[in-house]
Symmetry: C2
Subunit: 147 residues, 2 copies
């Protein structure tokens, strides 16, 4: 029987292909939707907090933020109270693409859920909450995760 994660990874990769199709010809690539959503919702978030929020390792986040800064989508500023912390702010250019990025994400969510009943959708959200909590627990508390 295929594992749970095979299905989950396939879902994630199919959405990646869909997003790449929708973002073709722009400066944004498939993985940037998480950055646009997180940075616009949490302006001034530190790079480390952003990495934790989207569950990507710090070096990956640093690389993508450097790209987005170079293209004019974000600005990085030192934290007023802690100069070692870099905070990320969306520019007008990023805020301008937010509605389109949001629509791409919402359309896909509606598309994949179209065959589910209300009850299944409720159950799916409930179960996803439980398994995602376990998954995040590994990333946040590796030493105690015992796996």
């Amino acid at each position: 029987m295929p594992t749970l994660m095979r299905k989950i990874n396939i879902l994630s990769r199919c959405e990646g292909i869909y997003r790449a199709d929708k973002l073709k010809g722009t400066e944004l690539c498939s993985c940037h939707h998480s950055y646009v959503l997180a940075i616009c919702q949490n302006p001034g978030m530190s790079q480390d907090a952003l990495a934790k929020h989207i569950c990507v390792n710090k070096s990956g986040v640093a690389r993508q933020i450097a790209y987005l800064e170079e293209k004019g989508y974000v600005e990085r500023r030192e934290n007023e109270h802690d100069k070692r912390t870099l905070c990320v702010y969306p520019t007008q250019k990023m805020l301008a693409v937010l509605p389109a990025v949001r629509k791409i994400v919402e359309d896909w969510n509606a598309y994949i859920a179209a065959d589910l009943t209300e009850e299944e959708l409720f159950k799916f959200r409930e179960i996803l909450e439980k398994v995602t909590d376990r998954a995040k627990n590994y990333v946040y508390n590796k030493d105690e995760a015992n796996i």
Copy 2:
């Protein structure tokens, strides 16, 4: 409310971080588990069929297969009946890492599902089947997917 895909992508990324931890110091990176499992289970599969099976675009598969070939994990041979088709075979080196890769995948699946009841697990599989079918339908039949 966070979208379904936010949870699904987080699950997928957390597993990516876990796999990277477990594969640290080897020649394999986090994304190679799908290749090891698919190629060992389907020796002689074409590159195009492999791309479809793991839902990654053809150029991505070509890049990873070239890497795995360079490191001695796979061999590519022309299809006897169709010389334009490249078929991928696992080497002894890939077959030797299969049990370890399988264990990494199985351990993570058991870890994330530990808080679910039997009934929830059954329901989760059933719902994942439905949404994954929708997602694959987009990738396989883009022209008809109407999204």
